[in-house]
Symmetry: C2
DNA sequence: TCGCAGTTGTTGACATGACAGGAAGGTGAT
DNA sequence: ATCACCTTCCTGTCATGTCAACAACTGCGA
């Protein structure tokens, strides 16, 4: 669509176009590869992995639902659906919250714990193989800077 | 999970961890913002936009379904479902292929053409505002190099 | 010409996640 | 204590995308 006649539109230059397309390609292919590796090696989706590994971050592997959703940057609706599915698979459990009758506590089951312990090395190896080890330390730092430049100017969806 | 006792696992260093997390954050938030802008400004999803703008790439806005799927890097199943939905909205049309009885040709309708003509400036402005204009020319080039370093080492899903 | 393996596209079943709406519990002013 | 309002979580519904199965058709070798 860059051949439109509208002179008021600042179309992307070839270099800009290329950077944008390369980023989109990276996103598409890298994510697909990591998801394939993860499900092949562990039977987990990326969402499963994120949820389980976040649960291990605190002692007792016990999170208030709303805090887990905030940490994962998930809507509470998404959390409820996903936790429901993981509960049916025996990876997590729901308990009542002592101090707030509305609240729900999400905990790791023993099976969930075993699962994430088994999954983590494989997933880290996959991230390393397909991403970290492909880039120099300088490139990793450049990417961090780039990502934060963009993210910092995004309208904050936070709280 | 970086505190596991397994000495055979090469966990990510803090810098590596940060680059990986920053990349994931970029992906999540930037994509969400662009999708929000696009649907607000034009009523299209990113998939809709990609399909429509790819259709304009050739004379006559007429693609063989399998080639359109390949160009978009979509499965033929995804294409069939998505084209079906866009057809119901009047944006595209299906025709038979003259030279191959199995084939389908996908074309832009007049409404589809009007829609993408109207959408393109808004979407480019959004990409510019949230992405291109946040980065220096050097950073755009760095990002291209980074993306291609990673993508080039991925197992080729290509044909 | 026949027959059959390979291609092309569609469909149905299912998983995921967004959004809206609602139930249940908490909080604060009066 | 009451009542209005907020918070927290869950559920139904819908859009999207994946996978497997299938139908229709092509093209090639016998």
């Amino acid at each position: 669509m860059s051949d439109s006649g509208d002179p008021g539109v600042r179309w992307l230059s070839p270099d800009e176009q290329r950077a944008w397309q390369d980023y989109r390609q990276l996103k598409r292919l890298l994510d697909a590869q990591l998801a394939r590796d993860l499900v092949r090696d562990t039977g987990l989706s990326e969402a499963d992995y994120d949820a389980l590994s976040t649960l291990t971050e605190v002692d007792g592997q016990r999170w208030r639902a709303s805090e887990l959703a905030a940490r994962l940057e998930w809507s509470t609706s998404r959390l409820a659906h996903h936790i429901g599915r993981m509960e049916r698979r025996g990876l997590v459990a729901r308990e009542n919250c002592d101090t707030d009758g509305r609240g729900a506590m999400i905990t790791l089951t023993e099976e969930g714990l075993q699962t994430i312990r088994r999954a983590a090395p494989a997933h880290v190896a996959s991230v390393r193989h397909h991403f970290v080890d492909r880039l120099t330390p300088e490139q990793l730092e450049q990417l961090s800077d780039i990502a934060r430049s963009v993210v910092d100017h995004l309208p904050t969806p936070r709280t």
